[in-house]
Symmetry: C2
Subunit: 253 residues, 2 copies
């Protein structure tokens, strides 16, 4: 995988074969207006009506909702290549907030350009739709995951993050950046930070993960997947269903 290439292109190529023209459109789009957001700052507030589309280029962010009692539920982790609000032209208000968990580089895209894409670039349009549908599939999996016991639930979440980071080329020899606190992981899985701590320790003791210095190492992905009952088919990656092509891509990388 060409790591100097735009991360959104890397991501979309996990699904579609993009033409040079498609790639050019994306590169232009992402380069125009880029900003930085510090960790723990809101990228978009709940109830806001953003006037442009936010795309994460670097860093980690999270969708979240606040419960009446003040607790925070994270409903998605956003990594490079993920859109915050692809839907601005359709839905008026944000029904949740988005916060940077680590320092983020964010591209601000003109919403009008989206209309142009959907009318002129059918492959790209389909690829964007694919992203939305995968986000939905991930969410469905999170609903399921919320009902599992702490250990398989965490194992599953980490497998998902590993696979998604891998699909954009950010996993190096089973290690990837995971700049999340245990409390943030707890807010995502719906458990207390105390129990998240004990759950992490449990996975550590079993030799399934190594997690320190904001880096996660998964010595045996298969083993962790088994513990979490993880099957990546819901992520609908090309590589999921075409092992031969996956090897091909790995040779290129």
């Amino acid at each position: 995988m060409n790591m100097t290439e735009n991360v959104l292109i890397r991501k979309l190529e996990g699904y579609a074969q993009l033409s040079d023209d498609d790639k050019r459109v994306i590169r232009e789009l992402c380069g125009e207006n880029v900003g930085k957001v510090a960790a723990h700052r809101d990228i978009i507030r709940d109830g806001a009506t953003p006037d442009h589309i936010h795309l994460i280029l670097e860093g980690w962010a999270a969708r979240y909702k606040l419960l009446p009692d003040g607790a925070r539920q994270i409903t998605a982790f956003l990594i490079p290549g993920d859109f915050c609000d692809l839907h601005v032209t359709v839905l008026a208000e944000m029904d949740h907030g988005i916060v940077a968990l680590a320092p983020c580089k964010v591209a601000y895209l003109d919403a009008k350009v989206l209309d142009e894409i959907t009318s002129k670039h059918s492959t790209l349009t389909k690829a964007l739709w694919w992203m939305t549908l995968v986000d939905e599939a991930v969410l469905r999996q999170w609903v399921v995951n919320g009902r599992r016991r702490a250990i398989p639930a965490l194992a599953h979440l980490l497998c998902e993050l590993h696979q998604r980071m891998k699909s954009i080329g950010l996993v190096d020899d089973r290690v990837f950046e995971l700049p999340l606190t245990q409390e943030e992981l707890a807010d995502a899985t719906g458990m207390s930070s105390v129990h998240m701590n004990r759950t992490i320790q449990s996975l550590r003791e079993r030799g399934l993960i190594e997690f320190r210095m904001k880096k996660l190492r998964i010595p045996d992905v298969q083993a962790l997947a088994k513990t979490g009952g993880f099957d990546d088919s819901y992520l609908h990656l090309r590589t999921t269903h075409r092992p031969s092509e996956e090897q091909h891509l790995q040779l290129e990388a």
Copy 2:
């Protein structure tokens, strides 16, 4: 609300102002190929690659996933006007199953027609996208709901179903058909059927719901919403943000 009108049109009008041409397209689409599915039968199996799009015209269905231990997690309830698999042209395989919970009338739509719509009917395209995004917003809310205590979680779910049924004109004087067993409600909220029973009883005793003969009556919607911490803005209905228009629609009904 014109109750003889196609249910999908009724639903989409909760979001967009459809032209007569838009409506004609939908009516033609829904009338061509219609079938029936008995309760407890799969409409689409997990892993299937449906060759046409399924639209619920009547009845109740559910998206579900099976956990490794055999438990069933319902991730969405489908009511008339809901699509089962609008995404067939983008995602190859179903990553979950869809089962009829009550006898269903289902329209089978030609997937090719969708491409035609997206290229020729921009309002309709946007409306379909809106549906997808609302489905996603509902899913996000389910993730949140999964972390709440049983009573507010159930109250919230019932408020959601009430609002969605109302938006397609299927609520009559605070009563609507809810042909679900307590076990099915339990599979949706992730609790045991035993505890679902006790939770229902609790809401009954508080006078918040009346539930028998497959009909649910909510004497005081506000009160139930308060118990569930329910705010319908995540459903992104036109009426949510335009109370004056809502009155207008009610007068028409």
